[in-house]
Amino acid sequence: MLENITLSFQGIWAHKMRSFLTMLGIIIGIASIITIVSTIKGTNEQIKEDLIGSGNNVVDVTLKQDNTTYEMGYGGLPEGVSVISEKTRKTLEKLEGVKEVSLYRKRTWSENVFYRNTQYSGALYGIDTHYFSVNGYVLDYGRGFTDFDNRTFHKCAIVDTATSSSLFGGENPVGKVIEINKEPFVVIGVAGKLQNSGPKITTVQEYQTYAGNSSGSIFIPIDDWPIAYQYDEPQMVSVKADSTDDMTKAGKNVADALSVSQMKTGSKFSYAADDLLKRATQMQNLSSATNRQLLWIAGISLLVGGIGVMNIMLVSVTERTKEIGLKKAIGAKRKRILAQFLTEAAVLTSLGGLIGVGSGIGFSQVFSNVMGTRAAVSIPACIIAVAFSMAIGIIFGLLPAVKASNLNPIDALRSE
């Protein structure tokens, strides 16, 4: 086999131009496939990252009533739903795929929040001390909440950077007093999101998902929530998963655990996770389905390349009839001649495949720069592409190889 491979390389080198032209079909086909696959992979990664936030891996678990989001009113906790305790929160953190859990309450459109005479209409959050860590917030200045703030019901607040500029008009908010449902809260800090943890909003759907963030957010300690809103309201849960791929599992595990521990049997309420990963997968599938059609077209060029290989190999058999005759005369068996021609075809197309993979990687980078999309090289796809090229060589080299191996040595030696 090694001898045949060496002889094949010698043959390719001896007929450089012809070998290159023979490989061209395979090179173009494989390069197209690698470009498309790299673009699909890059786009998928982009979708995943855009939709669920790179490196954040947070999934929200919220209360549902008959499988639709429970609308917060002024009635406090619905009947049969209990408050999630710190002990339960710690239990949730031990579930599979879960890294950290934060409990919070939220009003997307808060009312009766003022700074002096300016009304605030963004989101209001009652958060525990884990919320910032889970959701990727960092304090720009001031300080964060402490257990002491929660324990003493200290009426304090942290604003995000959007609120800082919209509500305080450029003044330093720290030390200023805001009014929430007529209760005074002292601003103790300004927080912003880490660069890589915020989702990029590119569609209306995503805007609706993250609408609260665009108008700004005000955070108060979760234990202060009843001071502002009179009642214990149902908590929401932010779950930070171990990895992006664990998000669905982590969200489901937490939701299932809460639906059991916080509800009475037969309750029409339940906890459910917002499955962003699933939504991303759906978008990726849509993108992949479109690109898969392109793969078929690229596959046709590979087929044409394979036919080209067969054509050249048939010519090669005719040209080398005397060589085949000699080899058979001095003792080469049929299977050796067959193996020699099959190896030549396989080496030729594998080499074409390797060049095609290299070109494909190059094209995908160029394509990515020109079109502004992301390209991500898939190593398994590259390996499969080269193996596939080899298979094409074997399939399309079979007919010429059989023809060569069946030559009668007397006729072959006599041929001109």
């Binding site: 010698q10 001896a14 005369a329 001095i330 080469a332 050796r336 007397i410």
Partner: protein, 227 residues
């Protein structure tokens, strides 16, 4: 005994009729024989050479090469016989142009499954026997006709076959090269090789120890020649 052909016939269908190319050929070759088979063009000598060389099988008759009945051999068995028992020397050398002299000579050993190192050593030894030890890395187009034929002879003897079969070995050579090649055959014979040479040239045939003539498919002669 190297080979024995008994009542060998070879027929080829020609449309509705049959062409009888060899008719009741009987030939016995003993070890260390040096035989020439001479005949004009179309006499059937190449067909006879193909049969002796196991490139073809007879239509009827028995051909024993050693203890093996060639008429009953499969294609693969015939290939093995050609590889191990017979060394071919062709009129037009049949060297592979992209291979060096050494690689050309080593080729039968490759088909015999000999390891690369041993192949190269034995090929170098064969080239030394034919006096081309200084041309091992040369390609055929860098060699003269006489040298090419000597490379072909080296290829024929590299596997130490029982029989050396030469088809018009000087046919493509000038007279000086032809003489050198014939001298080489004589030396090989003297060192113990069994040689059958097919030729149409009486002067070449005369250099063998025994001469047969073939005419219209009938083999005759076999008398020892006196120098």
């Amino acid at each position: 005994m190297i080979l024995e052909m008994t009542n060998i016939n070879k027929d080829y269908p020609m449309g509705k009729s049959i062409l009888h190319v060899l008719k009741n050929v009987n030939l016995t070759v003993m070890e260390k024989d040096y035989i020439a088979i001479m005949g004009p063009s179309g006499s059937g000598k190449t067909t006879l050479m193909n049969l002796i060389g196991c490139l073809d099988v007879p239509t009827s008759g028995t051909y024993m090469l050693g203890n093996r009945n060639i008429g009953t051999c499969s294609d693969n068995q015939l290939a093995e016989v050609r590889n191990k028992e017979i060394g071919f020397v062709f009129q037009s050398f049949h060297l592979l142009p992209k291979m060096t002299a050494l690689d050309n000579v080593a080729m039968p050993l490759l088909f015999a499954g000999v390891k690369k190192k041993e192949r190269r050593e034995r090929a170098a030894e064969a080239l030394k026997i034919v006096g081309l030890e200084d041309r091992m890395t040369f390609l055929p187009d860098q060699l003269s006709g006489g040298q090419c034929q000597r490379v072909a002879i080296a290829r024929a003897i590299v596997g130490k076959p029982r029989l050396l079969l030469a088809d018009e070995p000087t046919g493509a050579l000038d007279s000086v090269s032809g003489k050198q090649v014939m001298q080489l055959f004589r030396e090989l014979h003297d060192s113990g090789s069994t040689i059958i040479m097919i030729t149409h040239d009486a002067n070449i045939a005369k250099q063998a120890d025994t001469m047969y003539t073939i005419f219209d498919g009938v083999l005759s002669g076999g008398e020892e020649q006196v120098e």
